[in-house]
């Protein structure tokens, strides 16, 4: 075998090494990225599946223009009450309408644990609502209808 063939083989060998390392590096990086994304997706789906919210009571006080709702976290997911979204009669409620928001028996906290109940006072609400919906950060909902 002459020098020309040997030189060509060496060049191919070096190129193959470079290509292999680049391709393998990219493969592992991509696999890691997709795996991380799938993990996040699974986590989110699992969290949503384990979230269950129940409206326990809703009442309207015409004298104070106040609408009070009690909602129980009857699932096993820990929620954040600062990330809740409310719809009264189909209209999204501005944060300024929330007069008071408490986890009953827990003092000042944003953490809404399983089996705990929150009480929300909306004011001013000028007429008795016919429908209410709460949406958690993960998209889980609780509905109430008159």
């Amino acid at each position: 075998m002459g020098f020309d063939v040997t030189a060509a083989n060496i060049i191919f060998f070096i190129a193959a090494l470079a290509i292999g390392s680049v391709a393998l590096g990219a493969y592992w990086a991509n696999a890691e990225h997709v795996e991380e994304a799938r993990r996040i997706e699974m986590e989110r789906a699992q969290e949503l599946a384990h979230t269950n919210l129940t409206v326990m009571d809703a009442s309207y006080n015409a004298g104070f223009d106040r609408f009070t709702v009690e909602i129980r976290n009857s699932g096993s997911t820990v929620l954040d009450i600062s990330e809740l979204v409310y719809l009264i009669d189909g209209v999204l409620v501005e944060a300024t309408l929330v007069e008071d928001l408490d986890v009953i028996g827990a003092g000042a906290t944003d953490v809404w644990l399983p089996l705990e109940t929150i009480e929300i006072d909306f004011r001013p609400v000028t007429s008795s609502p016919a429908a209410f919906q709460l949406v958690a950060a993960n998209g889980a909902r609780a509905n109430w209808r008159l």
Binding site: G2, F3, D4, V5, A7, A8, N9, I11, F12, I14, A15, A18, I19, V22, A23, A26, Y27, A29, N30, A31, H33, V34, E36, A37, R38, I40, E41, R44, E83, V85, L87, D89, G90, V91, L92, A95, A130, A131, F132, Q133, V135, A137, N138, G139, R141, N143, R145
Partner: protein, 144 residues
């Protein structure tokens, strides 16, 4: 070995080296290009599966007057392009007036976009669907 033989071998050596280098260069370029494309595809796939939107209207109390109101919440973990959201009402592509609520400037996780649909919907069953640029979508069936 004469000078002519040496020259021939030198020419063969140079030619083989040039051809091998060129071939290796082409292969390296092709593999590099494929690697970039695979990386882009993986990123876009990853973004897609970590994205999620939900139409959070109360299906029993969708506001229809003066305009029909829809609310779309970003429940995924990526910031999305809300302005290019595509909206379908009863299967037809419609134009809506979009605005981000709560003083948000981007459609980040937890943010809500309000969609105002001008024509009044008649009483009966309806379906609204939204689709983001990366293909993430949600649908809500409701009754008026």
């Amino acid at each position: 070995m004469g000078a002519d033989t040496t020259s021939t071998q030198l020419i063969f050596f140079i030619a083989a080296t040039v051809v091998a280098t060129a071939t290796a260069g082409i292969f390296t370029g092709v593999v590099g290009d494929l690697t970039h494309k695979a990386t882009d595809r993986a990123r876009s796939f990853g973004d897609e599966i970590t994205s999620e939107v939900k139409i959070i209207n109360d299906p029993s109390a969708v506001v229809t007057s003066p305009d029909t109101l829809f609310y779309v919440k970003n429940t995924g973990s990526t910031t999305l392009d809300w302005f290019n959201m595509t909206v379908f009402v009863d299967g037809a592509l419609v134009t809506t007036t979009k605005s981000l609520l709560g003083g948000e400037t981007t459609f980040r996780t937890g943010a809500v976009v309000e969609l105002l649909y001008d024509p009044t919907l008649p009483a009966g069953d309806h379906r609204v669907a939204v689709s983001m640029e990366n293909g993430v979508h949600d649908e809500l069936r409701f009754r008026i």
